[in-house]
Point group: D2
Chain length 230, copies 4
Amino acid sequence: MNQSEKNALQLFQELKADKSRPRFGFGQVCCMINIDLQRGFVDTVNFNGYEMDPEQISHINRLSRLCRDRGMPVVWTQNVHGAEAEDFGVRALRRPGPDAVQGMLEGAPCTALDSRCDVDRTRDFIIKKRMPSSFFETHLGSLMVARRVDTLIVTGGATSGCVRATVVDGFSRGYRVIVPEECVADADAPAHFANLRDMARKYADVITVSEAEGQLRNLRKLDNAQGGDR
Amino acid sequence: MNQSEKNALQLFQELKADKSRPRFGFGQVCCMINIDLQRGFVDTVNFNGYEMDPEQISHINRLSRLCRDRGMPVVWTQNVHGAEAEDFGVRALRRPGPDAVQGMLEGAPCTALDSRCDVDRTRDFIIKKRMPSSFFETHLGSLMVARRVDTLIVTGGATSGCVRATVVDGFSRGYRVIVPEECVADADAPAHFANLRDMARKYADVITVSEAEGQLRNLRKLDNAQGGDR
Amino acid sequence: MNQSEKNALQLFQELKADKSRPRFGFGQVCCMINIDLQRGFVDTVNFNGYEMDPEQISHINRLSRLCRDRGMPVVWTQNVHGAEAEDFGVRALRRPGPDAVQGMLEGAPCTALDSRCDVDRTRDFIIKKRMPSSFFETHLGSLMVARRVDTLIVTGGATSGCVRATVVDGFSRGYRVIVPEECVADADAPAHFANLRDMARKYADVITVSEAEGQLRNLRKLDNAQGGDR
Amino acid sequence: MNQSEKNALQLFQELKADKSRPRFGFGQVCCMINIDLQRGFVDTVNFNGYEMDPEQISHINRLSRLCRDRGMPVVWTQNVHGAEAEDFGVRALRRPGPDAVQGMLEGAPCTALDSRCDVDRTRDFIIKKRMPSSFFETHLGSLMVARRVDTLIVTGGATSGCVRATVVDGFSRGYRVIVPEECVADADAPAHFANLRDMARKYADVITVSEAEGQLRNLRKLDNAQGGDR
């Protein structure tokens, strides 16, 4: 039993200091999954967004460009739902509680991807989701199969919500999952660090963005940069 | 931004002190999902199990009996896998790291449900799973449909692993999810409390076992105690 | 072994003549799933649609109204996809073969629901899908859970494609599935009858629209006509 | 509208005669999915099994060996269920009707794989399923991801049941699907041919076993014959 009274940041730093932890490592074909970088979550000026590392989005853009250059897919998700109560899911039952995502109505300005995101509208995939995991009731699963992806690089937010849920689903489905630490964020710092630690212990390689960048550069480009290796 | 430097226990207690939080509440048909109460995880004498509340399993037995009495289903999961590397999933890639669940081989004594669990072999369901969520690649989903369940009572362990993953999946699929605090456990206390807090904020009603018991007693018995309301 | 040389219509009539076949029967809460009644498939004037029973859509409207009156959900699906090759799925690999659904591009007039369909825009659910089954990578599954549905009434087309796939998935997930014969159609009559026979033998009650209507009238209205029995 | 009054065999032969049909083709990594070759379905001597091509199982063994030699996975499914009514799924509601699969109880002799099947117990995967599709609530999905499969070769039976359902799910998930005609069978010849035709038109390449064999021989062996290209 670990009965430590340290806080989440301290515990995560402790875990990171242990250089002996084994890695899943990168496979052959990566996909960037950039989660919910919509104005309502990341625009701290016009919306009630949150920010941890001010370079988060530029890091994500850089990794995404590397992926594209290698002929590997880039996905951007948006959390949106319709006006019907059912579309909120069971969340509608405790509306309008704190921590609500109600209000992310399809078409509302808060659901638009932040303008800092370098989305390649001709090659990237934009996937709308209603629930925490990017795989849940979306076509991310079949897209990963079509492109023969074996490695997911998960970024965006929130670390303790949609990032964690996507990481667990990715792991369960058999993917190597990589979380570049500076690329994920959460409005709640203790939850951010606790979830980074959980993910690192169980489901993912939590690494620095510069290590992720180096690994991506090492990957062999796919012959058909547009169509993956299909 | 919450930048608190409190530890996970303190933050969870803070959340519990806020009595204004809205509830999902109980629906009409509950299912107990008792997760991975197998010897390797809960037997602290013969195996390397962990225990938080010494009454955990007797609480779970009591709630399960109440469910059965109302004609509602009780599920016990076991985490087991075959000997093939693929059956470990992507986990096999970083074998034999710390925090490994490798070794939960089908048929091994550590995978047997602990003898303290009151399993009703004629009416309960035992579901084997390989991954964190009890729904993932198991028939829990269709069983919930067949019994018209709308409320999941999730117990067992680990809070930061299979419990959390099952709760997120249950929430996403449209179920009201109830976590009786004394009925879940984790070998890592900080992760236990951080995940209780995450679940309470986002996905579930985290309540006391005595409140869960009271709510269960209030539910109308199903006409056909064996077959649910089908 | 059945080595009959009869054609599909004859074999289906033979099956219907056997009145001893057991039924799944209706449960307590139905959902209409009206599949792909979009202009490209059903408008025989302006598009290359197909029609078997000229009353098909008015039958569907009547059943849908009965469902709504009982507080039960009505779903209309649309088959649409984006412009990217991956969004066609593996179909893109044999483009532009015969029997192609390529061309059902999001926003194209051929994807609009036919104007004869009485869609209640305030209460019905419109679900976009890319693949044959209405459950595949859509939120139909969680919607069914949220409304505690136990019975699916499947209509639309094509009998040998999206109807069959939805029926098999509905059956697998634990739903009673009802196919009112006059409410489904296919551009290929032999495939229509062969699939009606397969579904009747294995997965569904294939009944007349008038029997379905009678059964629906007998169902107890839900207390909360808007919100199902949640 | 096709209003042909031909029977299913005639229509399938008509389709096969059209050599201009485009193909999905083979990808880079195949998986054999040999469906439900259990005694109850294929043993015509001791059980009430059915047989179309007496060489079916030897064809399947030959293709499976080719797959294994290339380091590609071979899966054998079994249709089994527990004694509880729910484990039959919604089927239990019309028990004991004709066309019942009830009786395929876990451990019963009729569920054992037929002794003619050359199963490599150290390398092949045996997956138990309850419902028609081999993907439904089984870990076939994550196994395909782990081995980076892009092509499914589907054999076994019944053509109009589990084969068809697996083919539709495989297609939907983004796999190229190959059905070697002589390797699938059905107790009902008209349903067999009607479903071969449906699959060929919509979801799969229905080809001869000798063409499948030639294609398999042409595939590049994976470096790591045991572990796929992971």
